[in-house]
């Protein structure tokens, strides 16, 4: 869903057409019509999906009302459904992913644009693009079979004995090291959104006018000072937008998260404990949701929620990214 947001798709080249207006032929009119139809198709599809999800989820709103958004129950036996656990898991894992990925993306992108020799720049750039090409199911399997045992054996015990003993934030890193859970899901997602955020950061940093940087170097600024005092402030809005795009991507991630999140409808203070996200809940429950059941409606409503959540994040991101790149 979020892939669409990259690049500037909507700049209208209307002015260029005017020159042809006089000699316009039938084929041209037909061609234009086909193009219009293609454009409208996207809008229609998007509209239909929203309507379907909204309508599909309505019965659950009739049944539970506003409670659906405040209840943490997800019990197919008693047919009590609530969205809180899934929404919480979705947001927390996405936030962990962004918190981990953004500093790394800053490092990589600044290295690529300012420091790296051309040979390294090309090979690292290609490697990052390849990372983006790995299907999410591969990340999921790799996460489940390789990362989860490593998390259980080394990372989680290490975190528990260091950060875990710090007051207040200690509870975040406590509990049995099972390997799966919110933290692992967030880390895997960080890796998945890293290439995406890095690519946008590189674009932003490259748009910084060389004059500004040269002026800074000219008055004796160091590389790190140029980075923090010139490049980042110049691209601030677009950088925030890029982070939001990464967040939007992380919100809807399904396969990899389902593999490693632990799939438990519980909220726990510890990041080691299993949880659920909207996408993982839908992936898990949909195939066995009986026709006409409240569970099916609840899943559709969850889908609608995810749609709205992603839509808001991506809309904000687009506004922020464009505001800078277009000027």
């Amino acid at each position: 869903m979020s892939d669409v947001a990259v690049g500037n798709l909507s700049s209208a080249p209307a002015s260029r057409h005017r020159g042809f207006a006089r000699g316009e032929q039938a084929s041209d009119i037909i061609f234009r019509g086909v193009l219009y139809a293609a454009g409208i198709l996207v809008l229609t599809l998007l509209g239909l999906i929203i309507i379907l999800l909204f309508q599909g989820g309505l019965p659950v709103l009739y049944a539970f009302g506003i409670d659906f958004f405040t209840s943490s129950a997800w019990n197919p036996v008693t047919e009590k459904y609530g969205a809180v656990v899934a929404v919480y898991g979705t947001i927390i894992t996405a936030v962990i992913a962004v918190v981990v990925a953004v500093p790394a993306a800053f490092g990589i992108s600044f290295f690529l644009t300012e420091v790296a020799p051309p040979v390294l720049r090309r090979s690292i750039g290609t490697a990052i693009q390849l990372l983006a090409a790995i299907p999410s199911i591969i990340f999921g399997m790799w996460g489940f079979f390789i990362v989860v045992p490593l998390m259980a054996a080394y990372v989680q015990p290490a975190l528990a004995s260091t950060l875990g003993v710090v007051p207040v934030i200690g509870t975040l890193f406590s509990g049995a090291p099972i390997g799966t859970g919110i933290l692992t899901a967030g880390l895997i997602m960080a890796l998945m959104i890293l290439p995406f955020i890095t690519a946008l950061f590189v674009e932003v940093l490259e748009s910084v006018p060389p004059m500004f940087k040269e002026a800074a170097y000219g008055v004796g600024a160091t590389t790190s000072e140029v980075f923090t005092a010139v490049s980042i402030p110049y691209g601030r809005t677009a950088i925030v937008g890029a982070v939001m795009l990464g967040l939007g991507r992380a919100l809807g991630e399904t396969m990899a998260v389902t593999f490693v999140i632990g799939n438990a409808n519980r909220i726990s203070a510890s990041l080691f404990s299993p949880g659920a996200s909207i996408a993982s809940t839908i992936a898990n429950e949909f195939p066995e949701a009986a026709p006409g059941s409240l569970k099916l409606f609840a899943l559709l409503e969850l889908g609608f929620l995810l749609f709205v959540l992603s839509f808001i994040v991506l809309a904000v991101a687009r506004v922020l990214v464009r505001s800078r790149l277009e000027t």
Partner: protein
């Protein structure tokens, strides 16, 4: 569809056309029939379909989309039959004019990951397993586990329960067992294809649960026997209703099928959970087929019934090779009687005739 089955199909068609040329006799037209639903029996349906196609030329297109999906598809009549792991409620069947019958039997086994514990060495009983999944027993050296396993050294290790995160017939069967042996489970958790688990962590599919158990020491999980047998997982013994400890094995599952009350069961939904008998494995269940009682295309429904008739008679060995349990002959006879009496074409005549 495997390449082999396609090849054998081609060989068959070739043979058929040669025979047709030689004798100019009419060759029966091959029927393509479709089914959709449960994933658990999909491997055995596929194996049967390949054999059956080689024999009759009719081909089954089965989509393993999950029991819920199978029910939706047969309700909308977009397939010739639906398949569901959990039996469908009687009133729903009646409203949708569907006949439900069992196709094959499977069982659920308990797997563990403990150092020094071999397959079928650990002994557990139902209430104990329920309490583990309720989060009331949290250590492997708990007195209640130790009492059942004298002479076995159990570690001071946390129990990590694993369960199926996806809605599945396996969970339905397993939860049915826990509800049958533990009143607390019945009250607090209940039975469904996916439930609100009080503790543990979920993984997708049998392979997910198996890998989850393999990943962490002290884990316990449940998978279909088909999967445990094929992957040599460390299974545990269970105490059955007669108070005897049994290891999961084909004879123990057959004992459960033989001891179930098929005559008294409505819509063939006979429970094989915690059935009596000294050698009975307590977690056994059938997987079901849903067939319209008023088929729009009688010849398609007939093809379905012919297929299962063939499978009941000739598919036993294939099923056992894949670790499924064929239905007892007394049950298949009842199924055929139900076909004859319940499934009528548009003129009101029975579609199935002996």
């Amino acid at each position: 569809m495997s390449l082999m089955s396609r090849n054998s199909m081609r060989a068959f068609m070739l043979a058929g056309s040669v025979a047709g040329l030689a004798f100019a006799a009419p060759v029966a037209k091959a029927v393509d029939f479709t089914g959709a639903g449960a994933t658990f029996p999909a491997p055995v349906y596929a194996a049967w379909a390949a054999d059956y196609k080689a024999k009759s030329g009719d081909s089954l297109n089965y989509q393993a989309i999950g029991s819920g999906g199978g029910q939706t598809q047969i309700l909308n009549r977009t397939v010739d039959f639906g398949a569901s792991d959990a039996p469908v409620a009687g009133d729903k069947l009646a409203a949708a004019k569907l006949l439900q019958f069992p196709a094959v039997i499977g069982s659920v086994v308990i797997i563990v990951n403990l150092d020094g514990i071999a397959a079928n060495q650990l002994k557990l009983d139902g209430p104990l397993v329920a309490d583990i999944y309720l989060g009331k027993i949290t250590k492997w050296n708990d007195k209640r586990i130790a009492d059942l396993n004298e002479g076995v050294k159990l570690p001071d290790l946390a129990i990590i329960p694993a369960y199926r995160s996806d809605g599945s017939g396996t969970t339905f069967v397993y939860a049915s067992y826990l509800a049958a042996v533990s009143p607390e489970w019945k009250d607090k958790v209940g039975v469904a294809t996916s439930i609100s688990w009080p503790t543990g962590n979920g993984a997708k599919g049998n392979d997910g649960v198996a890998a989850s158990v393999k990943n962490s020491k002290g884990a316990i999980g449940y998978v279909e026997y088909v999967y445990a047998a094929a992957n040599n997982l460390v299974t545990a013994q269970l105490k059955n209703k007669a108070g005897k400890f049994v290891s999961p094995s084909t004879p123990a599952f057959q004992a459960a099928a033989a001891n179930a009350d098929w005559a008294g069961a409505k819509d063939f939904a006979a429970s094989m959970i915690d059935t009596p008998g000294d050698t009975t494995w307590p977690i056994v269940s059938a997987t079901f087929i849903l067939l319209p009682k008023d088929p729009a295309k009688a010849e398609q429904s007939l093809a379905v019934m012919k297929f299962f008739d063939w499978a009941f008679a000739n598919g036993g060995a294939t099923a056992e090779k894949l670790h499924y349990i064929p239905l007892p002959a007394s049950v298949t006879a009842r199924v055929k009687t139900a076909w004859e009496s319940d499934i009528k074409d548009s003129a009101g005549n029975p579609v199935w005739k002996k």
